[in-house]
């Protein structure tokens, strides 16, 4: 998100914002002056005040002036646009490389030591080169606070973006290119840390969980998004590979346990067992063995957040 307080979040902010100021300044000037002049003419030369028009065919000098002046101004604007953009084109040699995988509908980030996350953790004041890999369709990696955006194109090699984070904090990262059903949920966060804090994080291979900076409901949804629940379980009641999540919370459902059919109440206990041991109780009408256990991938805290989200699916 753009915010005047978040200045200098990356090395590109100044160049881009200068271009904005120049272009918006010129634009507002022309918009206001031309509108005021037009309204003034309509008032001053109204038929009541000016019953007879003075016929003027044109004025070559004026035509030349208002061709040349806008031309020069557009070249000024072009220059600032170019100047803010040019440094984005070439990444420094000492950049830290991270590979970004975009798929319908999440991002994952792979570090040089093989660590993979769903949130982009970065060290401050270090040039970062993101190598962009699209697994299925077009995506676009967009970090507004850093003023960067680059499409992720399947099959395209050496597609990258680079920047240098210059401010600690948590920033939004969106997919900006429409990519299908869950496009508007394809977002995650960038966390910029002090260098030694980042190094500690990078070597610690036990931390993979998402940043918990939203409400439990939103976090639960994002966890499910990132781990891919919605590929098999719909949100709208339609039957996919697995049963829909819509309206299941607090309801009685018929499941097959072993060879027996029984009724269960969907509560926190049942959801946890369905995630950790999905083939124990299978909802009637669905096949066993299609879902694998998420033990080790989702923590109890994650499941608490997921439950909060499922409660909202009425």
């Amino acid at each position: 998100m753009y915010s005047p307080e978040v200045t200098q979040a990356s090395n590109f902010v100044q160049g881009v914002d200068t271009a904005f100021l120049v272009i918006l300044g010129i634009s507002f000037f022309f918009l206001i002056v031309l509108t005021v002049v037009m309204i003034y003419f309509i008032y001053k030369y109204n038929r009541k005040r000016n019953p007879v028009a003075t016929q003027i065919h044109g004025n070559t000098t004026l035509e030349i002036i208002w061709t040349v002046v806008p031309f020069l101004l557009t070249m000024v604007m072009f220059y600032y646009g170019w100047a803010g953009w040019k440094p984005m084109q070439k990444a420094p040699k000492d950049s830290m490389e991270i590979t970004v995988y975009g798929r319908m509908w999440n991002f994952s980030f792979e570090y040089e030591n093989g660590k993979r996350t769903d949130t982009l953790f970065l060290p401050k004041d270090q040039p970062i080169k993101l190598n962009l890999v699209a697994m299925d369709v077009l995506h676009s990696l967009y970090i507004p606070a850093f003023r960067v955006k680059q499409d992720m194109v399947p099959g395209m090699e050496n597609n990258f973006m680079w920047f240098e984070p210059q401010r600690e904090g948590i920033f939004e990262l969106y997919c900006a290119e429409y990519c299908g059903l869950q496009h508007s949920y394809m977002y995650t966060y960038v966390k910029v840390m002090e260098e030694n804090e980042f190094t500690d994080w990078l070597v610690d291979t036990t931390q993979v969980a998402a940043l918990d900076i939203e409400s439990p409901t939103a976090t639960g949804k994002r966890i499910m998004q990132n781990i891919g629940c919605f590929a098999c379980h719909s949100l709208d009641g339609s039957k996919l590979v697995g049963p829909s999540f819509k309206g299941i919370w607090g309801e009685e459902h018929t499941v097959v346990t072993g060879k027996e059919t029984r009724q269960v109440l969907v509560d926190e206990e049942y959801i946890k067992s369905s995630i950790y041991d999905p083939n124990e109780d299978v909802v009637e009408g669905f096949s066993k063995g299609l879902m694998l256990s998420y033990r080790g991938q989702l923590s109890d805290d994650d499941i608490t957040n997921i439950v909060e989200y499922l409660k909202t699916l009425k």
Binding site: A19, F20, F41, T74, M77, W82, R147, G155, G180, L181
Partner: protein, 537 residues
Amino acid sequence: MQTAHSANEANYLTYKGKYKGLLGWIFSTDHKRIGLLYLYSILTMFSVGVLLGLAMKFELLAPGKTIMEAQTYNSAFTVHGVIMIFMVVIPGLPAVFGNIMLPIMIGAKDVAFPKLNLLSWWLYVLGVILVLAALMFGSGAPDTGWTFYAPYSFKSGTNLLPAVFGAFVLGFSSILTGLNFLVTIHRLRCPGMKWTKMPLFVWTLYGTAWIQLLATPVVGITLVLVALERMFGIGVFDPALGGDPVLYQHLFWIYSHPAVYVMILPAMGAISEIIPTFSQKQIFGYKAIIASTMAIAFVGYLVWGHHMFTAGMSGTAQYYFSLLTFIVAIPSAIKVFNWISTMYKGSINVQTPLYWAASFVFVFLIGGLSGLVLGALATDIYVHDTAFVVAHFHYIVFGGTGFAFFAAAHYWFPKIYGRMYDKGWANTGWLVFFIGFLALYTPMFYLGMMGMPRRYYDYLDEFHSGNILSTFGSWIMVTGLVIIVVNLVRSARKGEPAEMNPWHSKTLEWTVSSPPPVENFDELPVIAEDDGPYNYK
């Protein structure tokens, strides 16, 4: 429906040809009847597009699900885009007011190929039916966005092929109309109507026709390739088959950017008629406006890459596309300066069409100036694919073309129907519409600057307030729209009979009776050496 001027002979609305009733319309080769056929079909599609837009804005009133699921929303913006672009705005002014007015304005009895003209309308209807079939039958409405970007358009399970084929057929309708207008303007001008005596609306139709003729085939070819790829997997665009998705974007925008000028040039032409008429004054810089029209039509071919600054083009390509985009802004600026100068020392008759024309200049300025943000490289990288772009192009194609369409409708209405509308209601409708328009689209500039991506079914809480205002705006705007349309429909049947030339204009269409007779002129007019379309005394 007759006025005193044509009491003795049938006008184009009342005459009886070989067929009666509805058949007399849909098989008529009269350019004015075909223009009205387009008007009614375009207004029908416009209503569908508006309802879809209204539903989308309602969905965005609050984060999370409001009234529809994500799949429905994605289909809604796709179908809204396809309908509004291909069925409403591109045919819009040329097919309606171009058809009705072009032959009369150059002193001709009809277009050069009246039967081809009728065929164009039939193709338009066929294209519309094909796209609607995609909506209502098969696996569901397309959900790819109106741009049909590869490779998503190959992976989506929805009913894309009929929609693509429909767009292809609509393209042919556009090409044939362009061809027809070109030949008409070259061959059928009345004696004495030199190129430098043509009304500016005709000049803009001329520039538009060249774009329709030369650029539309590219999108036809592209859509055929999409269809072949989907049916036979030939591997041009889909990377899974060795194709290049960026190539698709190039081909798509090589047509679709010039198409923006198909939308806006005739709009500029209509404004160039209205401002001198209501100022009772010679247009300022007639030749400069012509030169800028042709410059836009030409340079407009060379700027398509500015839709692709983040797509992965080479840096050199981005540099030149940005530079050329700034160049194409200049002719539009020249037009605005000339329009405002035309009002200087005029005798301005403030009527409904002038309200529309002046508000056109205002919203077109905002649309055009926000385009500079998108043409510059650094700033485009930031706002590309955000709500800012949505605001920008709605200001251009709805603010620009839409306002000009309503300006033209209120300007030529007494000529087309021989009746005058209720001016009080017309002005009220304009004011409500204008306020609603600003409230609907202005917040999107802000949302884009905040970083909200476009085509978003759901959004984070920080984007909520802007979306609320935008949704309220959509309700106000539609209220205005209803007032405008009800007033015009009612007045077409019950309005006061209109004079032949109620606005005291100098162009030829105002020298024939209202509504015009079947073949426009009993005797072809002759333009005297010292006469011209804007020779006010």
